[in-house]
């Protein structure tokens, strides 16, 4: 078995004096969709931010694609092929859709096919014919698609996806699930933060459950679905 794409060993993080993460360990292999499940405030977002260097963190190991990324600035981590889709979406609302995508554009690595507007529109049909639109004029669902598309423009090997289904209509959530599956089909690994078990179960291979900043469960998605105890204790159903 080759080394995982993303390895986290004993990651701890804090906001000032308040410790939030305690020895979180997880890993994801190439092309794998891994869910990080947990209630509001469990520490999912903080985990992602710690990975890409947005919050200060300590870890025994934190590596991506064979590189130690503990001391790297965010932009270097992104250039290694680790994309981040934030929970708040953080679309550049003053920019057009096309310009938002342009900010994310980076050359493709090792001869893989680069993402283009056409390929993105195949996954997110709503984005078609919207290039000139100001991002501020988009609906919430469209903004969620744009933020994922923007990250894909960087041609990542892995995407950290923070609660993509949050606050969206069921139809759009379904599209999001299809988008994740499509990303996986192109070989992109995904670390998916979710509270929505149905959504996560539909797309993920494996799952971790986090509560109060510590990992409480890890296993396949099938195992999690079968484990009533864990689900009732740590997930809102």
């Amino acid at each position: 078995m080759t080394e995982p794409l993303l390895t986290i060993r004993n990651l701890s993080a804090a906001y000032g004096m308040a410790s939030v993460l305690f020895d979180v360990s997880l890993e994801a292999r190439r092309g794998e969709v891994v869910a990080l499940m947990g209630r509001n405030g469990a520490g999912k977002t903080t985990t992602l931010k710690a990975i890409i260097g947005m919050v200060e963190a300590k870890a025994e190991a934190l590596s991506f694609s064979g590189h130690d990324i503990r001391k790297l600035p965010s932009y270097r981590i992104a250039r290694l092929g680790l994309g981040y889709v934030p929970e708040e979406r953080r679309i550049f609302t003053d920019l057009t859709v096309q310009e938002n995508l342009d900010v994310g554009r980076r050359p493709a690595r090792d001869g893989r096919e680069a993402w283009t507007l056409e390929r993105l529109c195949a996954i997110f049909p709503n984005l078609a014919e919207m290039e000139g639109r100001r991002a501020s004029a988009m609906s919430g669902g469209e903004q969620q698609m744009l933020t994922i598309a923007r990250t894909l423009m960087g041609n990542p090997d892995m995407v950290l996806l923070d609660e993509p289904s949050e606050g969206l209509a069921p139809v759009i959530v379904e599209q999001m699930a299809e988008a994740v599956v499509a990303m996986k089909a192109t070989g992109i690994a995904v670390l998916l933060c979710e509270q929505n078990l149905h959504f996560a179960a539909a797309v993920s291979d494996r799952a971790y459950v986090i509560e109060k900043g510590a990992i409480r469960f890890s296993g396949t998605m099938v195992e999690l679905e079968a484990n009533d105890e864990v689900r009732e204790a740590y997930l809102t159903v």
Partner: protein
Amino acid sequence: MDLSFVIIQSLSGLASASSLFIIASGLTIVFGVTRIVNFAHGSLYMLGGYLGVTIVPLLLDVDRSLPMFLLGVLISALIVGAVGALMEILLLRRIYHVPELFQLLATFGVVLIVQDLVIKVWGAVEIPGPRAPSLRHGVFILDQRFPAYELFLIAAGLVVLAGLWLLMQKTRFGVLIRAATQDREMVAALGVNQAWLFTGTLFLGAFLAGLGGALQIPRVAINTQMDISIITEVFVVTVIGGMGSVPGAFIAALIIGQLQAFGILIFPKITLVLVFLLMAVVLVIKPWGLFGKPDASAGRAILPEGILSLKRFGTVDNLVAGVAIAVLLALPVFGDNYMIKVGIEVLVLALAAFSLHFLIGVGGIVSFGHAAYFGIGAYAAGLLVTRLGFAMEPALILAPLIAGAFAALFGYFIVRLSGIYLAMLTLAFAQIVYAVCFQWVDLTGGDNGVVGVWPSGWATSRQVYFYLVLAFTLSAIIALRHAIYTPFGYALRAARDSATRADAIGIDVRRIRWFAFTLSGAAAGLAGGLYSFSKGSIDPTMISIPMSVDFLVMVLLGGIQTVMGPLVGAAAFHSIKDFFMPLTDFWRMFLGASIILMVLVFPRGIAGAASLLTDRFKPNPKPLGLPA
């Protein structure tokens, strides 16, 4: 007023608006991306002017033509752009994460350094520039003559506007600048190396400043005061337009250009006051300017850490204070005249620094224009005595009252703002006071000031005056210190730590901060009054920005969180200045470099660094919060 006159007047308003916009757009772009208010932007503008009067004549010697003139202007601007990029690499890059107050101070350090460098290279006399070939004539508009170069400037402003629009809309660099202005952390997470983006932005901003400066050479003689005078105007433009907004800067420059062009007809002396009045009104209605976004400075630390643990005097502190007072009491007995003079100055400065410390440390209100109230006190006392024949005693009583009244007036607007906008507004008000004192020559003596501000007969001896100063400053400091521990002081600190929470428990945050501002202004005014009698004169340096910065440095040197800090800081700063200034022609450069060093070495403030050390020895410091 006939039509042609109105047209000419508004055209000349457009010409100045155009120059103002070119310069202000640079400042606002730099702020948008880096979130740093670059005080040295005016220095870059001045540098553009000096390079212009150096390079353009050389090129005109080769060929006296308009293209050569423009080439010279362009080269000057490009060099300034390179200086800006260098400034980003050497300095700004290291201070993106320090509190805003320190960023302002560090870039002000650059202002000081550039001032001395410019004098060293070009001398202190002003340098008239060459006229632009082919644009020396006048154009007749409805029978009125209007200089062709002014028309050219209007066109230049429009060209810059169009160029910036193209750059921002049509290039990747422009798209990245706009994206970073909104959310630079996200831009980094998308793989953009901010270092280059920031360096490029500084290049662009400095280029615009240099362009604005070099374009002035046919209009004004280039001089060493250009930096501060333009930076104030540019601050006003960007604050009115909204920090970070290029269209905002354009609209604001247009408004101000017209206001100046027509205001000068109605109130020839006080156009500046009109401009600041406009700014105050805009900020009250739209606290983030016409096109600004609230997030521009929200959630950022303006102050260094370590202010939260303001400690009451312990036994040791009491002992130290006691010894200090004993030494002061004995000073006139064993000290010579020089020591007494220095003692008086230190006491006066200590009071001024303490009043600023009260504002910053207790109120969380970072004033960048505290010299205004010090100066108003000095001028009030000086003018009452020399112009109205008052005696010293009533003048000394009126000085703090008048300074307090002005602090109340300005403070009414100031306390509505926070963070960097607040700092800039305090600076703008201080500049009004400075400008009025500088320009109202009949009353204030302008640049020369007024001499003959002497104490009453009984207090003329240095010894007696020393005791008088000691009595006044000590009582004022003790009174202010006492106020820190009254319910008012607790409320003020609660408001500093969390305005929303203080609001929620029923504290009228604005009123309490307004009162603090007034009180602090009055105390500074008392210091100013005492100072004017010790000098025997008043002059505008007492109100200038460098004076305000001196006060800030004293407070920071001594440490923000200790009550004794500003006093120690004032003594240390004054002694260093007194010792080094006569030894060197480069005091400003020395001071500027020291300020920058302080910010780089102690990014948390000297106070923060010291408290780190002392906390290691004192395991259980008791921070003062609201009483339970």
